[in-house]
């Protein structure tokens, strides 16, 4: 817990790194002016040091604030993958050294810390981020500084950047398969409940477009401020709307209050199932399995997947962090992202950003979720979609999967009903 202890002082200490970053910015700006003209083309010279026998990477996660509940586990998974790689010889003969930073659940802090990791710590790549707001805040930093971010969480799609690798699902690997599944089960109407920010709003826009094209009625749509704790009114609305299913894009602690209210108000999974896209094994424990048993989730990975790669991952995680700690989809995607970076660097035989970008297409890794392959065009990866049912033991069991990995399609260009979305 030593890392989290230093986060208490991080608010006060914030000024120092920010000042450092500012100084670094001025220095690098001066340096590029003094140097040759190529620097003026926009790509700042990388300060990554590849001469030693270690290579530095950044781990940028919220260790404090409302998102800490989820992001601490991602930090742990990144550390696990790095430890495994170092124990088996490192990357290109170099041991990986992690520089950990706290994003403090604040997009602006994420941007500041990303800048610090790139400019003053000179890391070769950064792993982390969770909320779409944090990714959107970091994106310009990584593009300006021409560095690499590996982002491990499912998100709302409609984005690609040559400086970001997305190892979580985009919508056609998670939300659309979930809608296909519901349609197949005979669901004719949906109620949408979400937190009031980027991901749920965009995801629901896509869900509504899908529903309109597939004859599914949207009986209601509600957003609550992040961290909202009172769902009595929303549950009343859901009950009187009487939809066939509820599509839940709530994030964080709000899920606890929502499911407790849902269960206590007598609504049941058998009558009106809730499909969630942000509830993994870790969150089930906090909600209480008895309050959520029988409900559905849509992800690409569950702890219960039966494969040798997953057994190895789960065993290693539990050995390092405790037998009661579950493994979840974003954790697996974070773990996978480190290996994908390693495999790409080895294919490129270089840590340089441009070499990694050029070599990325077709790089594979036998991940706990199954084989994944990087798409060099949009920097997303192929993923198998899985619908899971939460059982009373607190684990999630696959009830349906897509059979083979689905090609990433962040702009939904292969779906005719989604034409209007990408342009918005």
């Amino acid at each position: 817990m030593s890392v989290s202890r230093r986060t208490t002082i991080s608010k006060r200490a914030l000024v120092a790194p920010a000042a450092l970053a500012a100084v670094g910015l001025v220095l690098s700006a001066c340096g590029s002016k003094a140097g040759d003209e190529t620097a003026a083309s926009g790509t700042t010279e990388s300060c990554v040091n590849t001469s030693g026998d270690t290579i530095k990477v950044g781990s940028l996660n919220s260790l404090s604030g409302t998102m800490a509940i989820s992001e601490v586990t991602v930090r742990d998974s990144i550390a696990l993958a790095v430890e495994e790689i170092n124990n088996s010889g490192g990357v290109l003969g170099k041991k990986i050294e992690i520089v950990a930073e706290d994003g403090a659940s604040e997009p602006t802090v994420f941007a500041e810390k990303a800048e610090k990791l790139i400019s003053s710590d000179c890391v070769a790549a950064v792993f982390g981020g969770w909320t779409s707001s944090s990714r959107k805040a970091m994106l310009p930093v990584f593009e300006d500084k021409n560095s690499l971010l590996y982002y491990p969480v499912q998100y709302e799609g409609l984005e690609d950047s040559k400086n970001i690798f997305y190892t979580g699902a985009t919508t056609n690997q998670q939300i659309i398969p979930a809608l296909d599944y519901l349609k197949e089960k005979g669901v004719k109407s949906l109620y949408l409940v979400g937190s009031d920010y980027v991901f749920p709003q965009t995801a629901n826009r896509e869900i509504k477009a899908y529903a309109a094209a597939n004859g599914i009625e949207i009986k209601g749509e509600d957003y609550t401020p992040l961290g909202s704790t009172d769902f009595s009114t929303i549950v009343n609305k859901v009950r009187s709307a009487d939809a066939d299913a509820v599509f839940n894009t709530l994030n964080g602690d709000s899920n606890v209050a929502f499911f407790r209210e849902y269960t206590n108000a007598g609504l049941k999974a058998a009558d009106m199932p809730v499909v969630s896209v942000s509830i993994a094994e870790e969150e089930v424990a906090g909600i209480g399995a008895q309050n959520i048993a029988g409900q559905l989730t849509a992800w690409n990975y569950y702890q219960t997947i039966d494969s040798p790669e997953n057994k190895k991952f789960v065993d290693a995680y539990k050995a390092k962090y405790g037998a009661t700690k579950p493994t979840s989809d974003p954790m697996e995607a974070a773990y996978t992202s480190v290996y994908l970076w390693k495999n790409t660097a080895e294919k490129a035989n270089s840590f340089a950003v441009e070499d990694i970008q050029n070599a990325s297409d077709g790089v594979t890794f036998n991940a706990p979720e199954g084989l994944v392959t990087i798409d060099g065009d949009n920097h997303h990866i192929t993923k198998t979609a899985r619908i899971g049912e939460i059982r009373p033991d607190g684990l999630i069991y696959t009830v349906w999967d897509s059979g083979s990995p689905i090609e990433p399609d962040p702009y939904l260009t292969s779906y005719s009903w989604a034409e209007s979305l990408a342009s918005k």
Partner: protein
């Protein structure tokens, strides 16, 4: 029709939760004038107390009632510790108090994360509180009825204690005119500590009750802190009845506005109403009238 009634109960329920969260604050902030930003963390301490007690007793049925008692003393003890070590040194520096208690709040949150881990923990609601009751066509969860009853009991006990006991009379005397109370032989130090103990203890009780409906994590206190301050400010400083009326009024307003709009809009409209109200009545619903010079 059942929507109207259902939302009325929802409003009463939201009001009772606001009231529980704000009741302790109406003592420490309303009566003593201390802006205690760590009040939310006392609520959090109550929630984690419920979790620990449940781990020890392992039966959900009786552990809730034990937790309420233990939570009161845990919250109260933390309050006294804060008062004795920090707050008493800055009774006439409200801004310093605000900053210091905010810092204490951050430390307490981090402490909770270090002890219990960052993910939320699960406090199991007792069997006799699971499910809902059908009242005139609206299903009201039993946990919410329990919280409503608990809030009413807390208010009743607190107001009787303030009105009839010698301790209550001393508290009111110090609130109304500190100097005069001191010249009459009342130890204002002891009274301050007692008031802070009860106020913080009530936060602990609120924390235990909130585990029934929400999450138990290090950030739980922050969700309720602003609302609690709102209730006290709207109700008027120094009056329990102001907090009671304000809490239920805000709760019912919130439930009806939210039903006809959305949760985010409801919050905005509610804040606008409060701002307009405070323009008209800056002192809140009720104000203590004294002949004190300060």
């Amino acid at each position: 029709m059942d929507v109207v009634i259902g939302q009325l109960f929802t409003g009463l329920s939201i009001g009772s939760i606001l009231l529980l969260a704000a009741l302790g604050l109406s003592l420490t902030f309303g009566q003593m004038g201390v802006i205690n930003m760590a009040h939310g963390e006392f609520i959090m301490a109550g929630s984690y107390t419920a979790y620990v007690v449940q781990q020890v007793f392992s039966t959900a049925g009786s552990s809730l009632l034990i937790s309420l008692l233990v939570g009161f003393f845990v919250g109260g003890a933390m309050g006294v510790l804060l008062e004795v070590t920090l707050v008493q040194r800055m009774y006439h520096r409200p801004l310093d108090t605000l900053l210091v208690t905010f810092g204490v709040g951050l430390i307490l949150q981090q402490l909770a994360r270090d002890i219990f881990g960052a993910p939320a923990v699960n406090v199991v609601a007792p069997e006799w509180l699971s499910g809902g009751v059908d009242i005139l066509g609206a299903v009201v969860p039993k946990t919410r009825i329990f919280i409503l009853v608990l809030a009413v009991v807390c208010v009743a006990v607190l107001s009787v204690a303030l009105k009839t006991t010698p301790m209550g009379r001393r508290i009111r005397a110090v609130v109304q005119n500190r100097d005069l109370a001191e010249t009459s032989g009342i130890s204002s130090r002891r009274t301050d500590i007692t008031t802070f103990f009860i106020g913080s203890g009530l936060a602990g009780i609120a924390g235990v009750a909130l585990t029934l409906i929400g999450s138990t994590s290090s950030t739980v206190g922050q969700y309720y802190l602003i609302d609690a301050f709102l209730v006290v400010v709207v109700g008027g400083l120094g009056q329990i009845k102001g907090a009671v009326i304000a809490a239920f009024a805000l709760g019912i307003l919130n439930s009806y506005i939210e039903y006809s709009t959305t949760a985010s809009i409801a919050k905005v409209i509610l804040f606008v109403i409060i701002v307009v109200f405070l323009q008209v009545r800056p002192q809140g619903l009720f104000a203590v009238k004294t002949r004190s010079l300060v």
